[in-house]
């Protein structure tokens, strides 16, 4: 009567719910092994101190450095003799970029022969930029751009500022041409992603400083290598965020679209791109900020722009001058950041729908660049005003272009509208005022800053430097390998071996250890600050609301600028670089810690609270342990940020590798050594990155 499927009899406990198959993690005794390593290290250091430290004095060169010098000579010879690659391929690319930048400069910033002034004078440029800002981001951005660009003029750096914008915008445009299709391809094809991701990793781990010199060698110093460097530096965030944006379209949406029979093209055009649109614009924002920061650093390879006056002032320890030109960089940063941010918010509105969900804080822990996503990218959108119709918008844009045209024409007619009047230049006066102010302030806080400096120097920096730098290289190498092994397993240990071999090969072992010391000390201080601030922000909404915008602003400022206040407070010393590095790395680390603390599931926190624990216990026993992944990630990012800054700090007394790189730019016979230092920095960066990443992967999950 009843028709039943015979049940495949499976005896056993009557458990309805399927029990997942679990792989239990082994107990590794990490702390114990690390302690043993440190003990061995200290004992070894006591015994062998000062032996085999591989110290190379500043002017000494080894074979590798000389070989690099020769290589430079032969490359220069080859390109002058018409070698097909260096002359034909690279030479043409380089000439093209130089020509393009030159044309743009003549258009808006430098005299266009035979005219004594650019094709378009300041009034025209001002009007044009404001109009572009209005078109992509709205009225408020236009006003901001207007004020900022006027500021460039009043501070006396009109030409340099516009040059910086030229390099930045050009690089961003090229990034978009390459990066968007690449990011899309990576999101859609696993093979592409697998092939490209390690390259992006390397590009991002490598401190910008390290590839300036080789690129300058190949592309020649000047605008073209500036554009190429900037391109290389700014491309990875765009590619990654584009990939991430398209990947983050929810699986359920793709599946639903798939069930309706869409083709791959339709999926991309009608589902993935519209839904990733906002995230992609965030990527363009990140790309722009990276480009700006690199465009200033590129002054080392003789790029036109604001970097030059900053470097000149820093090298002559002229705090006032550095402050004014540095301030122009800050203005440019804020202007570009706000405008691209507003553009992304508008993209969101044009798109409608709450796509902000594509990048929630939880997702933030995924890839390294994404950590830089500023807060607004993760916020739910607030009010929604309907946008005017597209037709109306276009009419308004066309109409407002008329005054822009008038301004351009006027600026071609009248000299006073073409070059910014020098009587309006308040830059030097501000510079003097800043110098005076710094003197008084520094004199009055002197005791405090000196005390701080001494405590850190004698308490932390000197002992550690002695421990790292005066231990024999083989002992240090073994210590680093064991640390890598115990923290992350054999993979990072293997990477460490390779990186150590590279550093040894560059002949700069001792300098690398000094740089490593500074990096570690700065990172420790960064993490202390970040934990204090991050825990506070993570636990208190109001604190978060107040502090986060400040951190966001700090993050948009190119690293270079941090040297200025550090120099003012601590004059030229090892410590200056450390302080600048802290200022640079604290915001990102703090945000990661705060997000980690906030990310602890509210129900866990509630359950713990209901068990009657104190705030202190809550932090120590619940929130910090559960935010472990974020903490390790914050350390990872802190290390990399610090390293890149410690290196740049070489020019204000940081010494070691960074100083060698800078010297390589200026002294011909140190060229090879500078490049070698760049390679050593990269090796150091890769090593630190891998160790912390694998440690995060192993210890992050609870």
């Amino acid at each position: 009567m009843t028709t039943l499927q015979a049940p495949p009899g499976r005896p056993g406990p009557n458990v309805k719910e399927e029990q997942p198959y679990v792989d239990t993690a082994p107990n590794r005794h990490t702390a114990l092994w690390l302690a043993v390593t440190v003990a061995v290290w200290v004992v070894g250091w006591l015994i062998f101190r000062g032996q085999d430290t591989r110290t190379l004095s500043f002017q000494d060169l080894n074979g590798f450095h000389r070989w690099l010098n020769d290589l430079r000579d032969s490359i220069q010879l080859a390109s002058s003799r018409g070698n097909w690659f260096f002359h034909g391929v690279i030479g043409n690319i380089s000439a093209f970029f130089n020509w393009l930048v030159g044309q743009l400069q003549e258009l808006v910033s430098t005299p266009a022969f035979p005219r004594p002034v650019p094709q378009i004078g300041w009034l025209g440029v001002l009007a044009l930029l404001a109009w572009v800002a209005y078109a992509v981001a709205g009225v408020r951005s236009a006003a901001l751009v207007l004020l900022s660009v006027l500021g460039f003029g009043f501070l006396g750096y009109w030409g340099d500022s516009i040059d910086t914008l030229i390099i930045t915008v050009l690089a961003v445009l090229i990034c978009c041409l390459i990066g968007l299709p690449l990011g899309i391809a990576m999101a859609r094809r696993k093979a592409v992603s697998v092939a490209v991701t390690p390259v992006l990793d390397l590009m991002q781990t490598m401190p910008a400083f390290a590839y300036l010199a080789p690129l300058a060698l190949i592309f020649g110093i000047g605008a073209s290598s500036a554009v190429v460097c900037t391109l290389i530096y700014a491309l990875p965030p765009l590619v990654r965020i584009t990939e991430h944006g398209i990947r983050s379209v929810p699986e359920t949406t793709l599946e639903a679209a798939g069930s309706l029979g869409v083709t791959k093209q339709q999926m991309l055009r009608r589902v993935q791109l519209p839904m990733a649109r906002r995230t992609i614009v965030v990527g363009i924002n990140q790309c722009t900020m990276a480009a700006l920061s690199m465009a200033t650093i590129a002054a080392f390879v003789n790029s036109p722009g604001l970097g030059k006056p900053v470097i000149a002032a820093l090298q002559s320890l002229d705090v006032g001058g550095a402050a004014v030109s540095g301030f122009c960089i800050v203005i440019a940063a804020i202007m570009l950041d706000r405008t691209t941010t507003a553009a992304s918010e508008r993209a969101e509105k044009l798109n409608r729908g709450a796509l902000a969900s594509v990048s929630r804080p939880g997702v933030m822990l995924m890839t390294v660049v994404l950590e830089k996503l500023p807060r607004w990218a993760t916020e739910e959108q607030r009010g929604r005003r309907p946008l005017p119709s597209p037709l109306f918008r276009r009419a308004v844009l066309a109409l407002t272009f008329i005054p822009v045209l008038v301004a351009i024409l006027l600026s071609r007619q009248y000299l006073s509208l073409a070059t910014f009047s020098s009587s309006a230049n308040v830059g030097p006066r501000i510079a003097t005022a800043v110098s005076d102010l710094t003197d008084t302030v520094v004199n009055s806080v002197d005791t405090f800053t000196n005390a701080f400096k001494n405590v850190i120097s004698y308490g932390l920096l000197n002992p550690l430097q002695s421990l790292l730098g005066e231990a024999p290289w083989w002992l240090m190498a073994a210590v680093l390998i064991s640390v890598a092994f115990f923290l992350g397993g054999w993979r990072p240990a293997a990477v460490t071996v390779v990186c150590e071999a590279v550093i040894l090969g560059t002949g700069l072992w001792h300098d690398a250890m000094v740089t490593l010391t500074m990096t570690l000390v700065a990172t420790v201080m960064v993490m202390v600050l970040a934990m204090l601030l991050g825990v506070w922000m993570g636990r208190s909404r109001p604190a978060d609301t107040v502090v986060r915008p400040v951190l966001d602003t700090f993050q948009t400022i190119p690293p270079f600028v941090y040297l200025v206040p550090a120099l003012a407070l601590f004059s030229s010393s090892r410590f200056t670089a450390i302080v600048a590095a802290m200022a640079y790395a604290v915001p990102i680390a703090t945000k990661l810690v705060a997000d980690g603390i906030r990310g602890v599931s509210p129900s866990t926190v509630e359950a713990a609270r209901s068990a009657g624990i104190t705030s202190r216990q809550m932090i120590m026993k619940v929130q910090l342990p559960m935010a472990r992944e974020a903490l390790v990630l914050a350390t990872n990012q802190g290390l990399l940020y610090v390293l890149s800054m410690v290196v740049i700090g070489g020019m204000v007394g940081g010494g070691s590798l960074g100083y060698l790189v800078v010297s390589g730019f200026s002294q011909a016979q140190l060229f090879g050594k500078g490049i070698a230092a760049g390679i050593a920095i990269t090796a150091l960066g890769v090593m630190l990155d891998r160790i912390t990443r694998y440690a995060a992967a192993r210890h992050g999950r609870i």
């Binding site: 009843t2 499927q5 639903a256 309706l260 009608r270």
Partner: protein
């Protein structure tokens, strides 16, 4: 093995034979060595043993069933039992590891990409637990999306979408965006989108699990109403037995990727295939599901001659009043054929058991 027995519906389907969907020996194993499991002794292992041994997960194991045109076929099981995988295999949103699927006589397993796309665009539509709506499109444009991708003209798809809006009771919300609607309303959009292409087969993957109980009940009634109105064949996934019993003409019960039982609601409740199913149905109010067939007893000598008559497929709850009101036992007929007797005791046994 299983008898296909569908409810009668006015104008249910076109005459395409009496099987809308037939699945034979269907397997899906996730993992790198998926194709090296079937046919080896490993295939006999339980899911966990297989996973521990090879790292592969057998999500669907050797499943066969048939669905008749116009039938509502419910697949039920706990989370992780392979329901979602099974329903996705049917249109090859997930590629089967082995087995065959035929829909209205066509072999799905060997269809080309183009044929598959065609199938998904015109013949089969799906409703998802998490709706899967496009947040950047208005309600009408979401509903018209399927028509859009297959190239239907703008006015035509607008008209069709508007019809669907009215059909699922969303009139007035056509120009809203999905995130402005409640969960229940969003799922109505999902339903309308699925119906827009006028498919022969509708598939639901736990469509109401994310909704509040009252909304869920509304939506279940909505599905029943739509089924009566448009009479589509439906494959409905759920983990909720009450929902399965309410909607299903037949129910397939799954565990760990395997079929435990297929049968009509009263069969599942009246004759659970094993302890697993028995445990499941223990909480169900039996008088709402069981028919007289399940509670009657054989006639004693002489009884078959008189007494009130009742049909065997009457649900106990409906027939209870008549049986209790009668002076003696009642006779149960399947059509013209006499098959047994019920008296007050038989009824009370079922009803009272529920009270306890």
């Amino acid at each position: 093995m299983t008898q296909t027995q569908a409810k009668e519906h006015s104008g249910a389907t076109t005459g395409e034979g009496d099987v809308a969907l037939s699945v034979k020996d269907l397997w899906k194993i996730f993992g790198d060595k998926a194709d090296k499991v079937i046919g080896t002794p490993d295939a006999e292992l339980s899911r966990q043993e297989l996973q521990a041994k090879t790292g592969c997960v057998a999500a669907v194991k050797d499943v066969s069933f048939e669905v008749a045109p116009g039938e509502v076929f419910v697949v039920m099981g706990l989370s992780g039992s392979g329901k979602s995988t099974l329903v996705r295999l049917l249109t090859r949103l997930i590629e089967p590891t082995q087995g065959s699927i035929r829909m209205a006589g066509e072999d799905i397993t060997s269809a080309s990409d183009q044929q598959l796309r065609d199938l998904r665009r015109k013949h089969v539509a799906m409703v998802f637990q998490h709706f899967g709506l496009l947040p950047h499109r208005k309600v009408v444009d979401n509903i018209a999306f399927g028509l859009e991708v297959r190239g239907v003209s703008r006015t035509e798809r607008r008209n069709r979408a508007q019809e669907m809006v009215d059909l699922v009771g969303l009139s007035g919300y056509e120009n809203s965006y999905p995130d402005q609607l409640s969960g229940g309303m969003q799922q109505r959009v999902g339903l309308a989108r699925a119906l827009a292409a006028d498919p022969q087969l509708l598939m639901f993957d736990e469509p109401f699990s994310a909704l509040d109980p009252l909304i869920r009940r509304d939506m279940q009634n909505e599905v029943i109403r739509l089924h009566e109105e448009v009479g589509k064949t439906m494959v409905f996934i759920t983990h909720d037995l009450a929902e399965a019993l309410k909607l299903g003409d037949r129910i397939l019960i799954m565990r760990d990727g395997e079929i435990i039982q297929i049968g009509r609601p009263d069969e599942v409740v009246g004759a659970p295939a094993d302890d697993y199913v028995k445990d499941f149905v223990s909480e169900v109010p039996k008088s709402h599901v069981l028919t007289l067939r399940w509670v009657m007893r054989p006639a004693r000598p002489g009884e078959a001659d008189n007494g009130p008559t009742l049909q065997a497929d009457r649900v106990v709850r409906d027939a209870a009043r008549e049986v209790l009101a009668a002076d003696g036992p009642c006779r149960v007929f399947a059509g013209e054929e006499f098959i047994g007797m019920v008296d007050d005791e038989d009824i009370l046994r079922v009803v009272v058991a529920e009270e306890g």
